[in-house]
Subunit: 316 residues, 2 copies
């Protein structure tokens, strides 16, 4: 029997990974969006949101809708989708909320269409969704959301995506409740950088990739250094320096701004360290009087996945 309904979990993602601005990203086990998609035999996209974020239902203004419209452009037969989303990832958190929607929608739709599109096709479609959310067509959240694990976007042509193997890693996400618009975070970046800083940075990028391949936690830690973007952007995030220092003292390998913020992320070898980082960050922001949300997750190996035993209301 042909499957005409699917429920997927679309994971949060961390873009940049400190030194890998615009090229590296990783997927988390949670938080995630839960997206139910039904294949229709008419050319229409209907979107409903079962959450409090007030995201637009108009498919042309909704990241899932735009991504699915891009996909449907390459589908010859008459088809459409009914999409019901429960967002577990807060919009504007800097952990790939829009990418999760876009990636989840097209991965689910592709499954209902018999998996006719490649992962790279799906990235292309999902990037169209990303574009309406952030103003730029970028793949550093969409790629890990679709591939899972840790991904390198070597080039946007293709796109040319490389899956980087990795050792066991725990990620603490720290989301101070302030707003940083992706477009603003892009705008403060200088368009030119010192060659010597660029060299330093690609030494770190090569070190981080090597450390992941070699499962060398110390090398990973030493390489988690950003001399270009973080010094410019960290001023947008109150408490950034303090939380980072606390985390390193607690034993985190390293970390920094997740995507364009405001979330921070810290990579840890041990879950106990990840928990300690979380505790210290909460204390720090409590002292500052700034509300904060936190998550601890392993790196997600699979990306968007079908929910095997959907339990209604499981995600809240």
């Amino acid at each position: 029997m042909k499957q005409n309904r699917i429920v997927v979990r679309a994971p949060a993602t961390v873009a940049n990974l400190v030194c890998g601005f615009d090229v590296l990203g990783l997927a988390l086990d949670h938080p995630y969006d839960r997206i139910a998609i039904t294949l229709l035999d008419e050319r229409v996209i209907r979107i409903t949101h079962d959450d409090e974020y007030g995201l637009p239902a108009d498919p042309e203004k909704n990241v899932m809708g735009v991504a699915l419209l891009a996909l449907l452009k390459e589908v010859k037969e008459v088809a459409g989708f009914d999409v019901a989303c429960t967002k577990g990832i807060r919009p504007g958190s800097g952990i790939g909320s829009s990418a999760a929607g876009a990636a989840g929608a097209v991965v689910g739709a592709n499954k209902l269409l018999g998996n006719r599109f490649s992962k790279n096709d799906l990235i292309r479609f999902a990037m169209e969704g990303e574009k309406i959310a952030s103003g730029a067509r970028h793949a550093d959240n969409v790629a890990p959301a679709i591939y899972g694990g840790i991904t390198l976007i070597r080039s946007m042509e293709g796109p040319d995506i490389v899956q980087i193997p990795f050792p066991e890693l725990y990620v603490t996400i720290i989301h101070p409740q302030i707003e940083v618009k992706t477009a603003d975070a892009r705008q403060i970046l200088k368009t030119r950088v010192e060659l010597k800083d660029a060299v330093h940075q690609w030494g770190n990028v090569a070190g981080l990739v090597s450390g992941l391949f070699l499962k060398d936690y110390e090398l990973i830690g030493r390489s988690l250094e950003d001399v270009i973007v973080e010094p410019q952007r960290c001023i947008l995030i109150p408490g950034f320096e303090e939380v980072k220092k606390d985390s390193l003292r607690a034993g985190a390998l390293g970390g920094g701004i997740s995507g364009s913020g405001p979330s921070l992320f810290m990579l840890c070898k041990d879950p106990s360290v990840a928990a300690e980082v979380e505790t210290m960050a909460k204390e720090r922001y409590n002292k500052m009087g700034l509300p904060v949300l936190t998550y601890i997750s392993k790196v997600n190996e699979y990306g968007v996945q079908e929910e095997v035993m959907p339990i209604v209301g499981a995600v809240s």
Copy 2:
């Protein structure tokens, strides 16, 4: 019995590897310098050169001498060295001639002193030698000369050197007989670069490192692209564009300027392709009326090595 004489082979090296300016390098099996070192019981360094290059014999002006002086500063007992070098690597070729001398001298001396220094110590000493040759303290030739294989200098602090595993690779070196001074080649580089170019470059650096780990020749080839340094420097090397195009057409994975030139290098999966690249380059420079030297070598896994069965006059 304590060894008081050693003969080492110090290999040529290729710095930068296209996208990895100042951080990546590889060692070649040949050409190489042959350096005979005798441990003396007086604090003196005597240098003789058995070649036609007219290199200075004064230890304070000779790369081997300066490197050995740096080493001796950390040796408490009275010791010195007699050094006799037959250079197989032409000075000014862009394949690490001075680095080979400096690396060979300190690795050999360290062996005679009971291997008391670490490889990173030896890199520090050898860089002092490099400095008098190029005016800058850099490790991108010295590191692969000492470690062998393909090396990443993640940071000059330490230095932090990572050995990158690699698949079978053949390197064609093409050395048009023109002079490009390292200092000049550095000077033409703009000190600032576009952020978007830097991002493109570190995507390629990460791609190259991943390709080497994964033994993915196609990814290696796609990543051998330099959008920052090569466009500025290639004008110093007549025939660069043509030779590169010929090489890619012949099936080379990619390549570019070796170090700061004037040598070019091309990486190939098959020895037959490496030979075809060599033939085409010779034809190209013959047509241009420019003398050219060429070499084909595998990547050298060991770096500076003791010559097990020294045959007098074997290197010419």
